[in-house]
């Protein structure tokens, strides 16, 4: 029978099949952990007299609570303690952990792929909803809660009911300066913030095939913002070339790592989108599905609660709204391709005097690559801050945050109320749009930067 890529990966990982009275037991090939969602899991392990079953299939990294300022001074003792706890737990159980001194340190969803841990055909979990990022490699990857982290540490397995499948086919040709981030925001607006619940999405079509691994990661990263269990892209030569660049030219995929959906495979739901007409997209509300083409006006039927919070008026235009902070970074858009794009826009220009711009590489490797290309100089000459790797202002628990009332254009993934600091307001956009907004000091379309700047 014809199968989807998801079906094949699922089948290969069933340890105990699903029954009416219990979910399937699924084997996990790679378990990523970070400081925020793992300490209580290690405590539970200890309380139950259990050990870590497969330390070599587990990788730890410090990213959420760590400072990204050049001095690497923790925001407070609690944050420092949380990171030391991660290091202690990993040391005790023989788990590799990337701490602040490790050159490979970075955001969990950036370092997994960079180090070659993330591979096609795998099952990958992490106590973090953006684990969907790793689906870009043709892996089944999703976020789990801390109780499940305990279970995976102890048994390398997870209890799951089989999700449904959703195929999203993206056709057409993207216009210049329209990126995977714009596509992701567009897809989320179409599905709605809960529209993907219970589904694993497979992104297909010529647009996705033409995407680099970085762009595929951006797209899969945001599948959770439509509520989907996971997002994935079938592996192809782009995937294998990326992995060879990380693991050496001799690396070859196993036959099960070359699997894709059969041509006649049936999905539970199918969506087709032509993105040829897509323009840069930006959010105006407090849920990632509240977005618009950047040159549009805020709809007259927009939810009043979100407009009250954002301080926007229905019918008003988005471009021209004054921007206090611009944040380029996160597991959505903190990779080298994203920084190159931001640099291309910033080159020879200045960040507006009233605007603060932070550029935070997703990992140590991204930082070094950017510096080798001279991107750091472009950023600093433009007047932006060039920071150390981490989650930074995506989550505002590490010292990088908005002040109440401040408006940020961010390349991260969540515009929830207060996500970037209590009272802070967030508009999500691509690195190109974010950089254009920094130069203009206001919401600006990157395609018309000369006009708006």
């Amino acid at each position: 029978m014809s199968q989807t890529l998801f079906d094949k990966i699922w089948e290969r990982h069933v340890v105990v099949p699903e029954k009416d009275d219990h979910p399937a037991v699924i084997y996990i090939d790679l378990h990523l952990i970070h400081e925020v969602t793992s300490p209580q899991a290690f405590t539970a392990l200890k309380e139950n007299n259990l050990t870590v079953r497969c330390p070599q299939k587990t990788l730890g990294t410090a990213d959420h609570s760590i400072p990204t300022n050049p001095t690497r001074q923790f925001a407070d003792q609690q944050a420092a303690d949380q990171v030391s706890r991660l290091l202690e737990n990993c040391r005790e159980h023989g788990i590799r952990c990337l701490d602040l001194n490790d050159p490979a340190q970075g955001i969990v969803h950036v370092v997994g792929p960079e180090l070659g841990y993330t591979q096609p055909g795998m099952t990958i979990v992490c106590g973090d909803s953006h684990t969907s990022t790793h689906g870009a490699f043709g892996a089944l990857a999703f976020g789990i809660g801390t109780s499940e982290v305990t279970g995976v540490l102890a048994t390398q397995c997870l209890l799951q009911r089989k999700p449904k499948t959703l195929s999203i086919t993206l056709e057409g040709t993207l216009a210049p300066l329209v990126t995977a981030k714009d596509v992701a925001l567009h897809v989320i607006a179409k599905l709605g913030a809960g529209g993907g619940a219970g589904f694993v999405i497979e992104f297909r079509g010529e647009v996705v095939r033409g995407f680099s691994m970085e762009s595929r990661m951006t797209l899969c990263n945001m599948s959770i913002e439509a509520g989907a269990r996971a997002g994935m892209v079938a592996p192809d030569d782009v995937t294998f070339a990326y992995l060879r660049s990380k693991l050496g030219e001799d690396w070859q995929p196993q036959s099960w790592q070359r699997e894709t959906s059969d041509p006649k495979a049936r999905f539970d739901r199918e969506v087709f989108l032509d993105v040829s007409e897509l323009t840069p997209v930006i959010t105006y509300g407090t849920s990632p599905d509240q977005s618009l083409p950047i040159h549009a006006n805020i709809p007259s039927d927009a939810a009043s609660r979100c407009l009250d919070y954002m301080g926007f008026e229905s019918g008003g235009s988005l471009t021209g709204i004054k921007v206090d902070v611009v944040f380029v970074g996160s597991c959505t858009n903190g990779r080298i391709e994203d920084l190159r794009l931001a640099a291309k826009i910033l080159e020879g220009k200045k960040v507006a005097a009233h605007t603060r711009m932070l550029i935070v590489p997703g990992s140590g490797a991204v930082k070094r690559a950017a510096e080798a290309e001279g991107l750091d100089r472009v950023f600093m000459e433009a007047g932006a801050e060039w920071r150390e790797p981490g989650c930074s202002m995506c989550i505002a628990m590490n010292g990088d945050q908005l002040q109440p009332g401040q408006l940020a254009v961010s390349t991260s993934n969540r515009n929830f109320e207060g996500r970037q600091g209590p009272g802070g307001r967030t508009m999500l956009a691509s690195p190109a749009t974010a950089a254009a907004c920094a130069v203009a000091g206001a919401v600006a379309d990157p395609r018309f930067l000369e006009v708006t700047a």
Binding site: V36, S147, A197
Partner: protein
């Protein structure tokens, strides 16, 4: 986890859609290494004004006795933080009645004994309109009843229901399959 067969309490309604886990428990309170005391920060940015004084308009301040919440669509979207159900439970909320919860949140909630009940939208809205009201929930027979005496049935995922009724931890279930896991590893190594 303690077994839960029956629940009685007061229900209040928080009918915003897409209430995300950053609202339930903001990230700045996640720098902890235990589960304790998170109830203090539940809905912090909605419950308190910036100066720390309680907002009298917020549902939990209006209904401090509430132990159940009727909630809007897609409740618990956003991050996978289990701190969200921990905070709700630590505050004293035992039951959530909604119409479509975010996947990870629902599984986190049930694992901790927070009974997340899915009803059809009309039924959920009918109950929301009765709030604040007395509520009783029967996990064994799977029905919920408000002060008006009308019962509405619901369906929990059978394994989650079994765990709630017996106070069972899914970790024990996984461990009971150790032999199958050994076998899987042998075949796939």
């Amino acid at each position: 986890m303690k077994p839960i067969r029956m629940f009685q309490g007061m229900a209040a309604a928080l009918m915003r859609s897409d209430v995300d886990t950053d609202q339930i428990i903001p990230a700045r309170f996640l720098k902890v290494t235990t589960k304790d005391g998170l109830g203090r920060h539940l809905f912090s940015d909605w419950r308190y004004h910036a100066d720390g004084s309680p907002d009298p308009e917020f549902v939990l301040n209006k209904n401090p006795e509430a132990t159940a919440l009727v909630v809007g669509d897609n409740f618990g979207c956003g991050s996978s933080r289990e701190h969200a159900p921990w905070a709700l439970l630590d505050y004293g909320i035992r039951v959530l009645i909604g119409s479509g919860f975010a996947d990870i949140f629902r599984s986190n909630a049930l694992r901790n004994g927070l009974v997340a009940i899915n009803l059809a939208i009309e039924e959920r809205d009918r109950l929301a309109a009765l709030c604040p009201d007395e509520i009783s929930v029967n996990v064994f027979d799977q029905y919920v009843r408000f002060g008006d005496g009308k019962s509405t049935t619901f369906q929990l995922e059978p394994f989650a229901r079994h765990c709630l009724l017996h106070g069972m931890n899914s970790l024990d279930f996984l461990i009971s399959h150790s032999k199958a896991i050994d076998f899987y590893e042998e075949v796939h190594s």
